[in-house]
Every structure is written in C-alpha cells, then in structure tokens.
Amino acid sequence: MHSYIRPNTHIALRLPSGLFKIVEITPNTSINLGKFGAFNSNLLLGRPYYLTYELLDKEDGRAKTTLRVVPASELHAEALGSEHAPAAEATDESADSGAGYDIVGEDGEVIMRNNRLTVDDASRQKLSMEEIEELKKAGTGSGKDIIAKIMESHNALGEKTSFSLAKYTLRKSRKYLKRFTALPMDVGVLTEYVLEREAYKIMELREDLLGLICSWANIHCAATSRVQMAEDGVSQIGGGRWLVVDDTGGLVTAALAERMGILYPEESDAESEEDGETQFAALEEVGRALSQQQNGTTDPSETAVPTGTDTDMPEADADTTVPPNPSKPNDDSSSRPQPRKQPRPHVPQMSAQTNTLTVLHPNNQPNLSYLKYFGYDYGAPAISHPLYKHLKSISWLSLLHPEDDPQYDEPESFSEEALTTMKSSKRGTYYRKRRRWERVKTVVDETRAGGFDGLVVATAMDPKTVLKELVPLVRGGGKIVVYSPNAEPLVELCDYYSKERRAAYIAHEFGPAPQTPNQQNGMKHKFEDDAETNDSTTEVDEDDDFPVNPTLLLAPSLQTARARQWQVLPQRTHPMMTSRGGAEGYLFTATRVLPIEGRVEARGHHGKKKRKVDAEVPVQA
C-alpha cells in the first residue's frame, strides 16, 4: 500500500509551515505551491512517499524547476548536530542556580548561556523588509541562503542561547525554506487536514478518537467471514456488517473502511506495479459472471459474495448455513423476468454480503464527500472501487417507512416481448429503474432484518432517537459506539441506559419487583410475573421515561482520550506549548445483549454494603 505515488490519486503535500496542500496528481500538470513556486507533477510520479523535496528554481542555470530529495541526515542535521555538544552541559547539574544567572562551570567558564542579556527589540535585525524581499526575488537556491543571510545580519546572534537560536532558525526555515514533504492520502492525513481548516465539518473528530472508535466497534476486515442466517432463515447475522450514522462528511466511514480493507482502490494495494490493467479486467469478468447469475436462476445470496476482495475466498458462500431460500425478501420472483442479453455487464452496486458498511442518511443522498480523496465519488462510483459493492446507503425514511419511499415501490415490469418492441432508450430507462429498485429493496430489506455486527454513530441528531431505532438491528454481542464532540448528549444517553432506569423499566414492564430482596437465595420463582407482562399502559409516559429499551445494552460506558504531543530534542524535551482546543470529543460504548424474557434475580454483593441486591430483571428484546 502506498508504495509509490500513482497518477490520478490524491496526495498531501506538507509545506514548511506544517500546513497541508492536497492535490490530485495528474501527469504533465503543474503543481503550484504559492510563494514557494511551482513544479511539474511528473517530477513526483512514481516516487516514494514520505520523502522531503526541495524546489530548485530554474534561475540556477536549469531549464526547469527541479526537485531534490532532501536526505534524512540533512533533515535531522539540526537535532543530531547539537546532540553531542549539549551533552557536556548536561553533566553539570549542580550549577542549577536559578533563573537570571548564567550556568557557570567549576572553572568559571560559562557553559550555558541564558536570556539575561536578551534585548526585545526588532531593530537587532539589520536587514530591512525591503532587503529581504529583494533577496527572495533574486530567488537563489532553496531559501537556505536567505536564511543564512538573515542570520548573518542579526546583530546579536551570539547572545542567543542555543535554545533560542534553534527556535529562531526553525522560525526562519518555516518561512523561507522551499521544501515540501509528499504524504500519502490516508485517513490520518485527511483528519489533520480538515481539522486545520473546517473542523466543524467532521464534528472535530480527532485521529485518537477515530482509533478508539474503530477498536470499540470491533471493526476489522471480514471479507472471508461466513454468511450465517438467523433461525428464521431470512435475516443474516454477523458477517462483518456495520451500521453507520455519519455526519462527518464520510470521514468516519472512511476510517472504518480503511480498517476493513475496502477504502483504497484495488490497484493501490497490489504488490505488482504494472498489472492494474489486468486486475480491472478480472474484475469486469467477475461482474459479468455475477450479472449472469443474477439474471439466471441462482439466489442473490450466492451471487453477491465474490467481489474484488472477496473472490479468492469461495469459503464465504460455501459456508452459508442456509440453503438458498426462495422466500427471501430480496428474491422477489417478480423481479426475475429480465432479458438474457445485456448490452453491458451489470455489476450490482451495494451487493456484497460480508464486510459491508451500511450508511444511514437523513437526506436523499448520503454526504460522503470526503471519500473522493480515496477515489470514490458517491455520485458516480467506479465499479472497480471496493466501496462500490461494500458501501450501502439507506435513508431514514426507507428504513422506518419503506412504504412511503417511492424508490421502494416496484416499477412496472414488462414481459420480454414487450421489451423487445421498445425503443432502446426506453429500454435503458426501464432497466435502470428496475436495477435501482432492486438495489434499494435489497438494501432496505436486509437492513431491516438486522443482525449487524455493530453500530457506529457520529451525528448531530439526538443520539437516543438514533439508538432507539438502530440498537435492535444489532446482533447479540455486537458493539455500539456513539461519538459526540460534547459530553452532555452522551451523559444523557448513559442515564437512559443506567442501572436504576433499567430496574425501573423492568418493574414497569413486569410489575414491581418482589419485595424482601434480601433473601435472594430463597426459592423464588423467576418467571412468576410473566403472565402480567406487556400490557404497557401509558404509551406517553413510557416514551418519556424510557425512550430506549435499557435492557438491550450491557456495560454502557463513557470515555475520552487525547494524544498530547511532545517536542523531543536534545536537552529540550517537553510537551508542546499549544495544541488544539475546542471539542474534547467523547465516546459512548456498549455491547448489545439478548436479555432473558421475564424476571431474573441478580446475585452477589452490591458495593460494600451488607447483602443488598438490586433486582435486575431484564426483559425480552
């Protein structure tokens, strides 16, 4: 992955200021770095990532601007050079005589300067602004000589402590060095890039929290997972399918997809450098085989498995626990009559059965614009991209009220004879409509059937309303993760799943808890009040007090994490002086469980108090 810079991909260029510039690199175009100059994209193509390049201007007797790779030793020269010198200073720690005095060695030699003599005055720089501008225009070299001249003409460079000198040099380098580093476009870089300029668009989601989300949601590649059905034989359970509510423009989706191995287009993770073409051809082949199957008699559950990443694992459908079931909802027999001959191979979008992400969106279309940096345009997805089959989308309307969604209505179905008499453009429209409907119906039906491995939520909507609808769609043992930039919505959520509320909910559903909780070892009947269940009296009251079913989640917890950056330089190691403020970012995590029907007595000691038991009486899902 990311072994070299490929044409027509996005790359991130980090400028000396630390800011990113993201460019889509197409051969034979000019890449403009503003005041640092411009260069031809061909100079970067095929080169490895993470190298730092220096722009060498054409003035220096070259025909064009060229790039020079700055070797690591040069990049680290500053830090490495000073490494051994200050080591001597470190030996003398007794002379720690407090601020304001030079640290003096035993022989009276000043071994560490301090800032006692510092003069806070801009006049110490002899070069005027105009002169510096002049130097820049002269445009000699890479900016190093400008920095050298500036340093030279500083009045009191010798008075600076080595630390302030280093800082001064760094500041000047940031400003004048014509260097950039070419970084691969990945989720980490994208996060940093967006946080820098429009953090609100990604709900101020930092990389540290993205990592935590992926862990707690148990996201992993499930391309080879078994396809297993629930006892009803209709709904799939597990198989590496995650539900996502993403208001971060696709950043969360991208992070999850990266962990699932479906974010980057096929070609970029191939070891082979040359065979991008052949792979695509193979994929087309698969697509053709697929559509034939689809149009033939085979069950969609079988056809859907092989994909770019899945194909080499026939295991996936070999292990299907349930034989093709004609009553499957997505196998509506009325959708069958389709022409044998198709003008182009049709690879059904969103058709993967394992290793999928299902994105719920509040608008007609999901906002997944950040996926464009990874070669996936939601509006016009490339068939070769793994997300084409593994990313599914469904609107809240189609999830909750499919009957109100016109896309879910089956379009008119024509017989083959009628089709052959149609104009080709009309026939095309007909197929397009049919396919869209098939896609929508399949996704809606399978989403409503549930059995997802997990749920990841990052939304501005009220989380409790989201969880009320989606938690039941998660399989037992599945993970729930909700991100929020602020603590309060999640604190509220924790409260709705609190132990006390759960007990109250159970009492509400199953009648009051049997008294004398102290004799928990007595021969009490567990299901005694089973009979009087489910006559939920006041709907309104219930919704207010129990907006979610608190028995469905185990161990709801709230956490946060933050990475604090340090500067590591010889003798100057300390945490960074400033970093990003704003939203702290919190995660709510829990496990979906299948509570036992009826009342269950808890056992054990509650806290350090005497034998007291909270009667926990989980209820049926």
Binding site: M1, S3, N42, G46, R47, P48, Y50, A72, L80, T181, E207, D208, L210, G211, L212, C214, S215, N218, H220, C221, A223, T224, R226, Q228, I237, G238, G240, M260, G261, D269, A270, E271, D312, M313, R475, G476, G477, C494, S498, E500, A504, Q520, K524, D545, L554, A555, T560, A561, R562, A563, R564, W566, T591, V593, L594, E601, A602, R603, G604, V613
Partner: protein, 493 residues
C-alpha cells in the same frame, strides 16, 4: 475437527465448543473461558465457571447465541471441595477414588439445574474484552494506547506487523484484528501453521496479514503461543522466542517477516533499531545508537544482510516506553538511522462516570442521596422547623422545671406520691428524625429515583495518568539514483 475461524474474527451466531467465550459479569469483570462442555471435571455438570454471581457450567453456555443473558445453575461446589480436601489428606488412595468418580461423572454429564438467582452475559471475545480479562504476565497495553498506535501505524488488512516484547498479548490480539484479511490458504485448514507467503498462491498474489511476535522470556512466549492457539489465531501469529537486541527480526523463511509496521515494547528499543534498516547500517550509526554495547559487526559481516522490512512500502514504527530517558535515546537513534516524521505523544485517556446527584431534605435516609437542603428555601424552612421544635421543647422544659419545683415544694410541704409523667412529655417532643426517616421510607415507593436529581459526570475514581510515551516514525522506501533515473524515464521530465 472442522476448521472454524477464531471467535475473535468471525464468531458465528452461537458460542461453540472448543472456542473462547467471555462471561461478562460486570463492566470490568469478565471471565474468559474456552468452552469445553465435555472436558474432564470434578463437577457433575462438567466444566464449570464459578463466579460470585453464580456457577455457569459450560454445557449451559455452548450453543447459546452470543450476547445471551445466561442464568446461573445450581452446582454443588461444596462436596467437590470436600473431596479435594480428602485428596490432600490421604494422597494416594483417595486421589485414585476421586479420579474414578470424575470419570463416571464425565460419562453422563448432569444436566444443570437453573439456580434461583444470578446471571451473566455471554459475549464474543474481542481484543477489548480480552484486554480486560487476560491473565497479566507483564504490563498490559490498554485499549486507548493500542487503538491509537494501530491507527497511527496505519495497519491495514493484509499488512505484516512486527511486535517485540509480546508480553501479555493484548497488543497481539489487537494487531491480529487489524491485519487480518483471511487465513492463509483458507480452504486448506489442515495446514494452518504454514506461512502466508509459502502457501500456494491463489489467483491473485494476495498477501495475507500476519503478526510476527518476538518475546525473549521463554515461559511467556510459550504461554502466549498456547493462548493464541486456543483462540484460533495460530495461523496468523508467528511467535518467536528470541532476544531481538542481538539476533534481530529475520525469520528462517527468507521472505519473512517482510514488515510494514513495527511495534516495540522493549526496555531499550534503540538497541533493536539497528536490525530494522533497509541496508546495513554504517558503523558510525551503530556506534551512535548503541555506544554502550560493543558493536558485533564481526557477527554481522559473516552473514549476508537481510532486511526484515517490506522493501516496497514505507515502514512505520512505534516504540512504547514509560520513561523520558528511553524516549530521548530512541529518538536520537531513529534520527541517526534515517527515520522520518518522528513524533512523540502520550495518551491521556479517562473514563467518565455518569450519575444522578440527588440533594434535598427528602433524601435523608435514602441511599445515594445527599440530605443537605436543596436550596435556600429548604434551608430556611428547616431552620424554622428546628426553631419551632426548640420552642416547643423549651416550653416543655419550662413546664417540666416548674413541675419539678412544684414537686420539690410539695415534698417540702410533706406531700408524697406524685406520679412521674416523663413518658407522656417525651411523646410531645417526639424526635423528628425518626419521624422523617419513616416518612422518607414510605415515600420512596412512590418516587422514581432513576430520573430525579441532577445528571452529572466526572472522571472515574481510578485514573491512569501515565502509561507510556509513544514514539512514531516512518522509514520511507529506499530511493537510489537508479530508481530516480527509472522514474524519470517512465514519467518524463
């Protein structure tokens, strides 16, 4: 036995025999157990997990859908304990007898009877639940740290990762999840130990992800190997018992480990770095990175140099060290060896506790409440009440005193036999505390404590303020003049 994927990666719908399941008792109290319903055991019910929330025979767990709330069973733990004691007393004969008992019991495992109370949840294992429940052998790398590390190392399905200092294996499990993209030669499970790259290649040159784990403490390495096999991860993890400082990371198979990412949880990561280069490091660099160790260049020279790194991708590294001195030495070694993008961070993670804070006079005697007045009005009201009672009390006192005086005078006058009315008076000054508590007790039935009070959150009492410093760096692909020339020809100037 049919090949079944690890429950960590593809748990299936139900808990199955011979696979790991986790019994979750409380949020941080989890019991990992390889479910062996037919294993030899002292119990009539077969193998049993005994917890403070009840006993759970494995036979009641196997076949349950994941996430099920499982009820405890009635297990006779007492008699087994006795037989054990007997075993200890009269070693030989009783031991034998005990064994034969066991054998009999194993033949027909008693169907466990459900207990009247107690339950636990049966959840599929994940690196997170495993981290919370694993047997500690060394300091554990916890979830906030390993999540961040794997995120920053950009570990993706299909990658190869080196882990040195495997320790308790929490990072190992998380790393497997991150690199997993299928078992090597998945259709051929009979040969699971075969390495990814030697397996007959199917169709495309698909590279299977793998973890290459090194541990120099032999018992720990062995223990980890056992766990990994128990968890069905053996084909994905290669554990090597080795001192990586001196022997490096290359495996017998010349194409391995071919690493894309490296995680070093070692006391002196800088001593291992010389083995993680793309070309033989210069002797100057060696001296600079490990001045305290005489360079073993002689040993190195005898063998042809082999890099454990994947030559086609940038290699990312993370070192995990608790002390700042380790960090400075590591960073300077990284700089000397040409690593780039060096960055050091520490992770501050905390868990928050959410609760309802109930304050008010009504909370007196109610568990979890603070009986201070909720507001000024309540305070004033209480003061008034107290004053009122005091007034009553004083007037009673006065009465009493007068009564005493009267009696004294009466006695002086020679009168006798005046009754003691103290009891009746006590009724009048009734201790209001008891009264209030009774009242609170009566009212509690009607209250909904779960939604009363103010919702607050705060950091949980146990706070990890420092785990370790994380140093990250990237080693780009080697790029020679020749490569540049080739690229120039291919892409034009």
């Amino acid at each position: 036995m049919a090949f079944s994927p690890s429950p960590f990666l593809d748990p299936g719908t139900h808990a199955s025999a011979n696979n790991l399941g986790i019994l979750q008792l409380r949020r941080d109290q989890l019991i990992p157990a390889v479910l062996l319903p037919h294993a030899e055991s002292d119990y009539a019910e077969g193998k049993v997990e005994n917890t403070r929330f009840g006993s759970f025979p494995h036979s009641t767990l196997v076949g349950q859908p994941w996430g099920t709330q499982v009820l405890a069973s009635v297990v006779d733990t007492g008699s087994r304990g006795k037989s054990k004691k007997r075993k200890r007393d009269g070693k030989d004969e009783d031991g034998e007898a005990g064994k034969s008992d066991v054998k009999e019991a194993r033949k027909d495992i008693v169907k466990a009877a459900t207990a009247s109370s107690g339950f636990a949840h049966l959840v599929p294992p994940t690196p997170e639940t495993w981290t919370l429940s694993l047997p500690h052998r060394t300091q554990v790398v916890y979830t906030p740290d390993y999540s961040y590390i794997l995120q920053r190392l950009r570990v993706r399905p299909g990658d190869h990762i080196i882990e040195a200092g495997a320790g308790s294996g929490s990072f190992t499990h998380a790393a497997v999840r991150a690199v997993y993209n299928g078992y090597p030669g998945q259709s051929d499970p009979s040969n699971p130990t075969e390495d990814a790259d030697t397996a007959p290649k199917k169709r495309k040159r698909k590279r299977n992800g793998g973890v290459y784990s090194f541990e120099y403490h032999e018992p720990r390495a062995r223990q980890l190997q056992l766990e990994i096999s128990d968890h069905g991860l053996a084909p994905l993890v290669t554990i090597t018992h080795r001192d990586v400082y001196s022997d490096g990371f290359c495996l017998d198979n010349p194409s391995l480990p071919d690493a894309d990412a490296i995680f070093l949880d070692l006391p002196a990561p800088w001593q291992a770095l010389k083995h993680l280069t793309r070309s033989p490091p210069s002797s100057a660099a060696l001296k600079a990175t490990a001045p305290d160790i005489p360079t073993e260049t002689t040993a190195d020279a005898s063998k042809p140099f082999r890099s454990p790194l994947n030559p086609r991708t940038p290699t990312r590294i993370c070192t995990f060290s608790p002390c700042i001195e380790q960090v400075t030495r590591t960073v300077s070694a990284l700089r000397t060896l040409g690593w780039l993008e060096i960055d050091m961070v520490e992770i501050a993670a905390k868990r928050l506790e959410v609760r309802r804070e109930r304050v008010g006079l009504a909370e007196e005697g109610v568990r979890g409440g603070n009986s201070a007045p909720a507001n000024v009005q309540e305070a004033v009201q209480r003061l008034k009440d107290v004053e009122g009672r005091a007034a009553v009390f004083h007037s009673l006192q006065k009465e009493k005193q007068e009564e005493v005086m009267r009696r004294a005078e009466a006695r002086k006058r020679g009168e006798v036999g005046v009754g003691d009315e103290d009891g009746g008076k006590k009724e009048g000054v009734k201790t209001s505390r008891q009264d209030r508590l009774d009242k609170a007790k009566r009212e509690i039935e009607a209250r909904s404590l779960f939604k009363e009070g103010r919702l607050v959150h705060r950091t949980e009492p146990e706070l990890k303020t420092h785990t370790s410093y994380l140093v990250f760096a990237v080693l780009p692909r080697e790029w020679s003049g020749q490569d540049e020339e080739r690229a120039r020809r291919k892409w034009g100037k």
